[in-house]
Symmetry: C2
Subunit: 84 residues, 2 copies
Amino acid sequence: MFKVRVFVTLRESVLDPQGNAVKNALHSMNFNEVNDVRIGKYMELLIDKNVADLDASVKEMCEKLLANIVIEDYRYEVEEVVAQ
Amino acid sequence: MFKVRVFVTLRESVLDPQGNAVKNALHSMNFNEVNDVRIGKYMELLIDKNVADLDASVKEMCEKLLANIVIEDYRYEVEEVVAQ
C-alpha cells in the first residue's frame, strides 16, 4: 500500500482571506511574532500497490479533483506502508 | 524568519465524511486504486526570528486556535528562511 500525502496551497499571487483572518486572530491573542499565514488543504490517500503508474495517477487525481489548478498549486509525497 | 508548516488532521477514531465524499468521487472517476482518503488542514506560518520560544509559541497557537484538540491531531515542521 502507498500512503500519498498531498499538499494543496493557494498560489502566491492569490489573496488568502482565510489566512489573513487567522493571522488577525493570532495577533488578537498576542502572537504578534506571526508575520503571515497561508492556509491550504492536506490530504492523505491510501492507494493500492498494484496501481499501474502511481505518479501519473496521483497527478491526474490532483489536476481533476483535489486541486483547483487555476488558483492552487499542489505537491505530494509518497511513502510505502504496510496495509492494515 | 521561520517558516512553520502545520498539519492538522482528524484523529483516526473520528469519522471523516469529507474524506469519504472525496474517495467516492475519485471512484466515480475510475480511480479505484484509492482505498482511503483523510482530509486535513495545512498552514504555513511566517514567524519572526526574535520569538522567545518558537516551540512553545507554535504549540500554544495550535492548541488555542489552529487545531481543535478534542477531535484533531497536529504536527509541525520548522524551516529557517530568508525574510522577503
